[in-house]
Amino acid sequence: MVQEYDVIVIGGGITGAGVARDASMRGLKTLLVERHDLTDGATGRNHGLLHSGARYAVTDSESASECIRENMILRRIASHCVEQTDGLFITLPEDDLGYQATFIESCRKAGINAFAIDPKEAIRLEPSVNKSLIGAVRVPDGAVDPFRLTIANVVDAQLHGADVLTYKQVTSILKDDSGRVTGIGVTDLHTKQQTKYYSKIVINAAGIWGHGIAQMAGAQVNMFPAKGALLIFGHRVNNMVLNRCRKPADADILVPGDTICLIGTTSSRVPFEEVDNMNVTPQEVEVLMREGEKLAPSLASTRILRAYAGVRPLVAADNDPSGRSISRGIVCLDHETRDGIPGFITITGGKLMTYRLMAEWAVDLACKKLGVDRKCETAEVCLPGSSATPQEQPRVGTTIGQRAARGRHGERTSQISLSSDTDRSIVCECEEVSVGEVNYAIEKLGVTGLVDMRRRTRVGMGTCQGELCACRAAGLLAKADGCARKAISNVADFLNERWKGIRPIAWGETLCEAQFTSWIYEGVCGLNDSQEKRIQ
């Protein structure tokens, strides 16, 4: 029997996850399909900035007001994914202090509580800030963990009956004789097995890859792949988000995120052929460092962990070569009215901050087509992990690891078994991830390999980049699915993936550590002998 869904959502990024949650909460039978792992695309490759909207206030007031509304919603519904750090927009001697007044005015108009503070007060609030600043504006920026946020949306979708498939690539959009979209054909990336899934509506939420999905359905969505590169530093230099108070430019945001901080981004146009393989160039690293040091001078002596780049799924409106003047506004396309393709919706544009609103728009449209009259509740109902009041939070032990786990999983930490010494022992020492937490991720969060594990638990995200934890985590995976060979190949893939991000910034201690890692895995563990793949 062929199972038919109300809605199939293509894309396991934050948008797709948000759509799947919203749709399933409104009682629609939902399937979420992702080509690789959840958050594999732009969702997992950005700043993790909880925008106040201030950045867009002067240039794009619509985006700015969307941001501040969603910002306030996320603080409430996704409290375990959000850090309420607040942010500063600083004016340096080389910047025009006159811009500050325009900036504050625009922020106020968009509903953003922005106010100028004395530069001395800024230094007191955020000691890492460039001490030569001549102006500072405080705004309600923050940090949001996009991995956690996506997983929480997916978990909630599943709790509401949605099915989720990862490592399934959409290879065709199925249509009936009338041209109505009726489902999708997918190929399992591991087994190469092909399957068809049917639904009344297909929602394309595949980010930059949505361009290709739309083409499969016979529609043209002109997207604008704009690459943004970022650097991750080994620890938190700042505890408040730091921005430059000027028109948006390269590398002018420094965001604290969990145990690290991030500087970004650059913006450059890339051809579609490259979107699957983004590499950070030496020039980009140079720009990021040069500009980053202006925000927080101590970045110059801080260890860099990784460099990475994502592709913004902007919808092209004109031929702007930089991509910055394009609105970050939400684009929801009803292909039935636009292209004469019933049953097909594309939701794109927007940004991490507005994922919930994007989902609301897309699901509103789907409901209208399905004749379902249910209101969107995603702005009121808290996500799993953020549902408990402070009094209801599970009690955890005093170790760093137990407290770190609560930060990652909110009240769902209570599902992590820590009853035995083994459960409590540590897998990832940098990020303090216990055996219990790894097992929880394997059992409850749909982990199939080490890269998935990293996104759900931070295993391998710390200073050593997998040096000590990769083999331990692989051991637990092998135990769970009974295949050691798969786990070994997984270790090699994982370390290669880590190396890709290390390579552009491989100097100093980071290079020493990478070398040490290769000694451990090639020299001690003999990974080279059992694998074709080298850890370069």
Binding site: G234, I400, R403, T463, E513
Partner: protein, 413 residues
Amino acid sequence: MEKERESIEYNFEQCIKCTVCTVYCPVVAVNPDYPGPKQAGPDGERYRLKNPLFYDEALDMCLNCKRCEVACPSGVRVGDIIQNARLKYGTKKPRLRDFMLASTDLMGSVATVVAPVANASLSLKPVKAVMDCTLGVDKHRTFPKYSSQKFVTWFRKHARKAQDAFPKKVSYFHGCYANYNFPQLAKDFVTVMNAVGYGVNLLEDEKCCGVALISNGFKKRATKQAQTNLAALREAVGRGEPVLTTSSTCTFTIRDEYAHILGLDNSDVRDSVMLAVRFLFNLVDSGKVKLVFREDFRRKIAYHTPCHMEKLGWGIYPVSLLKMIPGVDLTVLDSNCCGIAGTYGFKKEHYADSQKIGEPLFNQIKSLAPDVVATDCETCKWQIEMSTGYPVANPVSILAEALDIEATMKANA
């Protein structure tokens, strides 16, 4: 300067997670509840920078032996990171016991006045039991005896004048132990220095080096005392006198902890503060001084290198000096922590670990059965004497006994 300070602050980033520090940590070896120097130090620091609430009270188990720093191939100041975190983020307020244990000057000044009473009562079982229950000082611990006359009192009365006869001078930082508990060590130091032709000056104003204050969380008081000491050291160094010591821990504290933990600039005096054994060895080695030993001196000696001596890298000096004595049969004991770590081993919560840590050392000493154990640290001495029953002496005291003082004086006249 600012950039430099910041890079010291971020020194933990040099850690490449090799974990050799944890392998060499004496506490990890006996207590699995201690996260170990790597996790307590560089790893934990990242979390504490994120939020001070991530401070783990288990850091209280650190001995501050600095063996992690000796082991680290990447130059990470693991021990300093842990000590600084304890001082900065520790939430437990120091107790009355900690105050008493840390206030070596105050307790010493009082106890020397009533030394016979203090010594007798501190060794009484009921007193120990009361201290165990009310203060948390472990009842199994033997307290060092107090002397009824302070070294400085003796020095002013009996030795001060004689020092004028020597054209060359050194200053002496005697430390609390030699002053209040065991003036014989300080007297031996004066004897040896005089024998090789050096007169001894005391510092204008000497306070406890502050090591116990630091490890018990009294950073402000430690800083105040350190500033007094630094002023006195500067005066002596300004006169062209090196400042010699007979305690490895005082020396280490003044040279390293003042800068690394208290954030004081001691760079102008640091190189002039050193253990007497180092000063003596260099004099002998460069031919400037000659030591003449008694022919009838015979001893089987086992030398224990204190942890802070290992950190200073100076174990070679006392060992080389002791080897010069013809009648000495010397064994250098394996590198092990004795477990007492100053006031650590006095505390009820740490006593069991303290004794367990020292066990390999105690066993080696017992199997060697030496006449005397030599070591440069007073708290190692208490620990070894209490736990093995063998007498322990400072190498300077052994030299004082082994030297033919008159012949040495003549040879260096």
